[in-house]
Every structure is written in C-alpha cells, then in structure tokens.
C-alpha cells in the first residue's frame, strides 16, 4: 500500500451513508417545525456547515442549521442577541442545549435506543439587509457582541477551492489527534495552505498541508466573508497552534518512516486488531458484568 492508497482508504471509510444523511434530514425537519411553531414563519432555515460544503466525515458529522431572520423583522427579537435567546428558549422545550460561541448545540434528551445522540448546531442570526448576503450573528463570548459573516461566501470559498478531500482528511486528523481546532478555521487553513499547490495526489497535498502547519508561525486565517472585521485569532490560540504544530511534525515523521497508521490510525483490520490487543494489555480493565 502506498501513502496515497492509505489516505484513499481512510477517506473512503469516512463516507456518510444515505441512512445517516436521512437521519440528519429528519433532525432538521424536527428543528424547523419547532422553530416555526415557536417563532413564526419569517425565518429562513437552511443547512450550513460541512453538510452544505460537502466536507462531512462519518466519525463526526455535525449538522449546522442556520436560522436567519429578515433584517426588518423584530418579532423574534429587536437585536441579534434577543433573537439568539428566543431561539434558545424555543429549542429548550425539546432539547438539551449547550451554548457555543455563535451557535446552540442541541443534544438528544430521549435515551431510548431508537433515538441515538447526534450533534446538531443551530446558528441564529439576522440578515444585515434586504439582499440577504451577509448576516449578523450573536457572539456569546465576552470579546464582542456580534459578528458579521456570510455562509454563502464560506460555501463558495470551500467549494471553489476543490479541496474537499483534503479538508475531510484534515478534519479526521483533527478529530483523531484531539486537536480541538474549530472546523471552520481548519477548512480555511487547508484552503490557504494549498492555495498555490496543484491538485492531484492526496499524499502530496497532505504533506504540503502538514508542512505548512509546521513551518508557518503564527498560523493566521481570515474569514472570507469579513476579512477585516471578523478576527478569528481567538479560535486559533497559541495552545491550539502548539498542538497542531506538534501533530503536524509527527505526521511528517510518520510519512518519512512509511508508518502512516500513526497519522490517522490503521485502515487494515488486522493491524487495528493487533493495536487494540497491545493497548488492552497495557492497562488494568475492570471486568464488565451485568445483572
């Protein structure tokens, strides 16, 4: 197996099935029904995030649902902060919520097996003007109250880059190394790192990406929808950059040593089995029981 083949197999294993997509669509329908019942028909509700950008991976397929109100509409709140709270109160009737920087993460309350957990983020906002190109989002962190952005520009930015496969692999790397880089920032970083590179073999592209991460100091990305006004540096702080650089260094060393499973895990079942046996031998595990 070559490095390109290894990455190809790892990528293929991350394809999201039709059944999983259908389940996500049902979640969106449920959320949309709840929001429309609670806040009326004015909101434009649509997909955002990796679903809209075609960069989902099986190991972590969060769904972003955008809930944007017209700029002159005030029934859901006079400010974007009030809109955020109205959406939060409406969703809280049916879901457990965790407040993120600009979004509300909803979790399943029902613990029955037919209702598995899922990660759906609802992003409340208000269009800046009648053109509906740009949106104000409420910011829950103390650094600012709101930010201006455009999901359309984000989707176009990723889609026109042609780097979907590299973005999916970078997301998998982020997840498996526990780097904690926000997906949006990682996508921008992949596109930026590979901007001058030719598209083609995955191995060469990913090597370029990790080289860029290791050698560029500091790593800086700009929101393509608002390059001057939306500072993303907080999302890519020194600790996160340190973790990324170390993991990128490890990835490049693994490529050099032809030991690719160190980067994204083994894709060969027998190797995975050997690894888990070796891992289990090294720890003391309580013997599971049942009544």
């Amino acid at each position: 197996m070559t490095f390109d083949q290894y990455l190809g197999v790892a990528l293929a294993a991350q394809a999201v099935s039709d059944a999983e997509i259908d389940a996500l669509r049902r979640h969106r329908d449920d959320v949309e029904r709840l929001l429309r019942d609670g806040l009326g028909p004015a909101a434009r509700i649509r997909y955002g995030g990796s679903y809209a950008k075609d960069t989902m991976i099986k190991d972590s397929f969060d769904l972003d649902i955008l809930c944007y109100f017209p700029h002159e509409y005030v029934d859901a709140g006079a400010t974007v902060g009030e809109i955020f709270r109205s959406v939060r109160d409406t969703l809280a009737k049916a879901y457990a919520l965790v407040t993120k920087r600009c979004a509300l993460r909803i979790h399943n309350i029902d613990q029955t097996q037919s209702n598995r957990d899922y990660h759906v983020d609802v992003v409340p906002g208000r269009f800046v003007d009648a053109d509906k190109d740009s949106t104000w989002l409420h910011v829950t962190t103390p650094d600012k109250e709101r930010l201006k952005t455009s999901i359309e520009k984000h989707i176009n930015h990723v889609q026109s880059s042609g780097r979907h496969r590299e973005i999916r692999l970078a997301k998998l790397w982020n997840l498996r190394k526990g780097l904690g880089v926000p997906t949006f920032v990682l996508e921008l970083l992949v596109v930026k790192a590979l901007k001058e590179k030719t598209t083609g073999a995955l191995g060469a592209s990913m090597t370029s990406f990790w080289t860029y991460v290791q050698e560029t100091d500091p790593l800086i990305v700009h929101d393509p929808a608002n390059p001057a006004g939306n500072d993303l540096s907080d999302l890519l702080d020194a600790n996160t950059q340190g973790r990324m650089k170390q993991a990128a260094k490890d990835a490049l060393a693994a490529i050099e040593a032809n030991d690719w499973p160190r980067i994204l895990g083994p894709v060969d079942e027998k190797k995975a089995e050997a690894r888990i046996k070796s891992a289990a031998a090294g720890v003391s595990i309580a013997k599971p029981w049942s009544e």
Binding site: A96, Q111, R176, K177, A272, A286, K287, P288
Partner: protein, 230 residues
C-alpha cells in the same frame, strides 16, 4: 431527593471546569440533571496512536459525587444486551457493584472516572468488536464476569483468593453483620478464631463496602450457593 447541582453550585462549577480542561471533547449539559456528553477518543497508552472514538453520555446521579455516574454509549454501536454488558436501559455495566470502592473510590473526580474506568471499559468494547472477546489479564480464564450473582461470586472469590463459594458466603455473612466477635471461627475455614486469622481483611472491607451492599451481595450469593447445593 433534589439533584445535587442545585445545592452544590461550587461542585458544578468544578465539574464544568475539569471537563473543559481535561476532556474538552465533552460538553456539560445542565437541565433537571447534569449530563456530560461527547466523544471519547481512545489512544494507545504507550504510543499515543489513535485507536477509536466512542460517543458517550454520562449522567451524574442525584447523589453525586457519592453515587456512581451512569454511562451510556450513544452512537448506537453497542447492542443493549447482557453479553455486551449493557443493561436493558442502555447503561453500561462496567463492574460488579461490590467493586465500586476500587473503580470509583471516594474523591475520584469525574474526569478521572472518564479517563480511567470509562476509557478502559470502552477500550475493552473496541477489543470485543474487533476480536469477539474481552481483553483478559495474564492468568485469567476470561476478561469479563458472568451475569448476575455468579459474576459477583467470581469477584469475591478473586478478592478473597479462594476457590470456595462457601468461604465467600461466610465472609459476606460477617461483613453484613453489625458486629462479629473475634472468638468466632474465621470465615476462611482454617478453624482458628477470626481475631487470629483474617480479622484485618474483614475490617478492611468494612471500610470499603457499606452494610446494605454487603447484605445485598450476601443474599444474592447465598441464593446462588443454595441452588448449587440443590
């Protein structure tokens, strides 16, 4: 009983801080009860290589931190059957209740629990998925416990280093009693009085196991032994 987090605000803040710091792939969700949800990334303990990722929800019970957190796998991978050590309501059975003192001792934080017994349990679940068996220590016949009272009996036989179910039953008789005279014969069957034989073991377990749990174990194991004896 009201949930602990309504009265122990500082403890809730500590839980949130610990989870954010030590297990950042999890969220703390506070509603009527406190639940910690997210993805547990398993890495090889020596090499740090990625092994697996499990979606989990850990409910902190009303009597937290005394009560054992309830762990559920929420990715739909593990069937809710006894052979995978999952109760019918989806809760993981990570160890026999009598061994809680060992795996969830007093003072253990939620992140220590997540990064210790929970992590190891899901390492064993991944092992089972890949190999069809539970990982076992050297010298062990199997890596999991039998279901029901038999599993509890196995635990006590290991703990007391005995092959005799009767020894376990006598030990639990003593453990479930308020007081046992040191002049009584030792539970081990040596014929010596308890005070000159295994009194220290009994005292040790009195500190580890509450009387109610000891009575429950004694009842289950006595019933099992009686069915063996016919």
């Amino acid at each position: 009983m009201s949930s602990w987090h309504l009265e122990q605000v500082d403890l809730l803040a500590e839980v949130k801080e610990l989870v954010a710091l030590e297990t950042p792939t999890f969220d703390v969700i506070v509603r009527d009860h406190v639940t910690i949800r997210g993805g547990l990334i398993l890495e090889h303990p020596q090499t740090g290589d990625y092994l697996d990722r499990w979606g989990l929800a850990i409910a902190l019970p009303d009597d937290y931190p005394t009560g054992l957190p309830i762990v559920r796998e929420v990715g739909g991978r593990v069937p809710w059957i006894a052979d995978r050590h999952v109760f019918k309501d989806g809760c993981a059975c990570m160890f026999v209740p009598d061994a809680q003192w060992k795996h969830y001792p007093e003072g253990m934080t939620i992140t220590e629990f997540l990064n210790g017994p929970v992590r190891n349990h899901y390492l064993a679940q991944t092992h089972f998925e890949l190999t069809g068996s539970w990982p076992k220590a050297i010298g062990d016949d199997r890596g999991d416990r039998s279901h029901g009272p038999r599993g509890r009996l196995e635990y006590w036989m290991e703990e007391l280093e005995t092959a005799s179910p009767r020894v376990v039953e006598r030990f639990l008789d003593y453990l479930a009693s308020d007081w046992v005279s040191g002049h009584r014969p030792c539970y081990c069957g040596s014929g010596d009085p308890l005070r000159r034989c295994h009194a220290s073991t009994l005292a040790l377990f009195r500190n580890r196991i509450g009387k109610r749990l000891a009575q429950d174990a004694r009842g289950a194991i006595a019933y099992l032994n009686s069915t063996y004896r016919g």
